[in-house]
Symmetry: C2
Subunit: 312 residues, 2 copies
């Protein structure tokens, strides 16, 4: 029986000022999918672990199986597939949980079919998974999860995705406080119009951030990690956001921001020790407030999804 | 008698999507200032050429002398100075005419005083000149004129100016149609609020443009030269803007946009021959409509102001 196991990484979307246009992949956490071809003619979701029973079991509603249907529709394939989803990351966390599932599912089925599509060609299908998950086909989680590295979505129409260089020194401290903010709700509270003066500050910072990444200027990256438009609205949903920022910045972080729509926060550092130290300080801070949290230390993951086992 | 002659270059501000945050210097045209120290205790404007009699002759109102006053105030200097201004570029053209005058004046007086201030330290004084000229202390003309090259103003408060790398292949075709759009009026017609969807497109393009410059990706530069917010409003003030864009793009331009607040337009090309050809085509097009125009071909000017003669 043909089978494959694929890991797809969690991601930090927006990256401060780059709302809807920037994202990068983490080394961990992520989701794992095991997929078997069979003769049933059906896409079945046979096992979910790590979701605390909260994800839909209907294959048309669960992202990991829904995107396989999109894939088959695109290629005019009718094929039986059995899917097991191992959520090895929290969801509703702002770390691109649905994206990791969609990407793992798409890379797995594409591998089983002999890779007729490139990773870039899988991207629109993964974006349709995002539309199912949160009502909006945004690409700033699926693109870095699928392609690896640090990604700019320059344009959505036409879709233009650019992998950016970045200094190897960068390390990320991600903290997930165990409180829930559904992405859909987090998007709803955003304003539909913004003052042009704020928009100018924002694209000045996007320019600085991209220049910092491309030229390896860590201090410029840090100075540019400011979000005048989204963060002021979303920060209020995250416990002690500004106190956590102060702790991170006092302890040599380059910058600090909300990961995706939160509640996870990320700290960019120029070495792994600083990242580790900041995670401990932030966890301790939230613990004093009675809030559990999970921390992850990671470089930027340049590789993207990994085919861990393929038996074709 | 101590004297100095300084040339300061014209500039293209905004550069498509980078309203208020991006600008680059041209090799030509520009302004020239000749300055003499004397014992009068006064700042006098003794000669203006090339302004068709339109610039103020009052030393407190003319930019070139006003910024000398700002300079003296900052350094607590009282010194007699005689100034001659040779406008070797059009004004009201969107090529940073007032900026070139301010920068030439500041670099000249600083040279005569023995350069107590760095070029970076002169920048806030030049920005005050812009405030006098157009009511807004924007830096996207004065910064590239003063520092040379391609400049990102990441932030205005605090002022954070970043020189960006760019591919040497870039050449600029600038066309100045002989119609007048005062900067102040051109700024007034802009909206104070913008849809967040347009702002996202804009900062996606700013990210792409900066990435293209930093990594030398000419095609990415071209794709990113799109302005969803300012251009649609200002283009209507420029004769045949969209027809000129079509001509430029059909003839291998990387991108096309408004220079500053117009009416000048710029075309980015990846070689000087393409730039020359496009200038001829655009001039001919406007001539058929009865509109005179002036064209300039230039690489990006990495040097900035030039002290042509110093007799101290």
């Amino acid at each position: 029986m043909q089978s494959v196991s694929v890991f797809a990484p969690a991601t930090v979307a927006n990256v401060g000022c780059g709302y809807d246009v920037l994202g990068f992949a983490l080394e961990k956490p992520g989701d794992r999918v095991i997929m078997h071809l069979n003769n049933s003619g059906q896409i079945t979701l046979d096992r979910i672990e790590g979701d605390q029973g909260l994800l839909p079991k209907d294959p048309e509603k669960n992202i990991v199986t829904a995107v396989i249907k999109y894939y088959f529709d695109k290629l005019n394939i009718r094929q039986g597939v059995s899917v097991e989803l191992y959520k090895e990351m929290p969801f509703g966390s702002g770390l691109g949980s649905s994206s990791a599932s969609a990407v793992a599912g798409l890379v797995a089925i594409n591998e089983l079919m002999g890779n007729p599509l490139t990773r870039e060609q899988l991207l629109p299908l993964a974006m349709e998974g995002e539309r199912l998950a949160c009502g909006n086909a945004h690409a700033d989680n699926v693109a870095p999860s699928l392609l690896g590295g640090l990604v700019l979505i320059r344009s959505y129409d036409p879709l233009d995705v650019v992998r950016l260089p970045y200094p190897d020194s960068l390390h990320v401290a991600v903290l997930y406080p165990h409180v829930e903010i559904p992405t859909l709700e987090a998007r709803k509270i955003l304003k539909t119009n913004v003052p042009i003066t704020d928009a100018i500050k924002q694209w000045g910072n996007v320019g600085g951030l991209v220049a910092g990444f491309c030229t390896g200027d860590e201090q410029l990256i840090g100075r540019s990690l400011q979000d005048y438009i989204i963060e002021p609205v979303r920060a209020m949903l995250i416990p002690d956001f500004y106190q956590m920022r102060t702790i991170a910045m006092k302890n040599n972080a380059l910058g600090f921001g909300i990961s995706g729509s939160g509640p996870s926060v990320f700290t960019l550092c120029n070495n792994p020790d600083t990242a580790s130290r900041i995670i401990e300080l932030l966890k301790n801070h939230l613990a004093k407030e009675g809030i559990d949290s999970t921390g992850y230390i990671s470089a930027i993951n340049n590789q993207g999804p990994v085919i861990q086992q393929s038996n074709k």
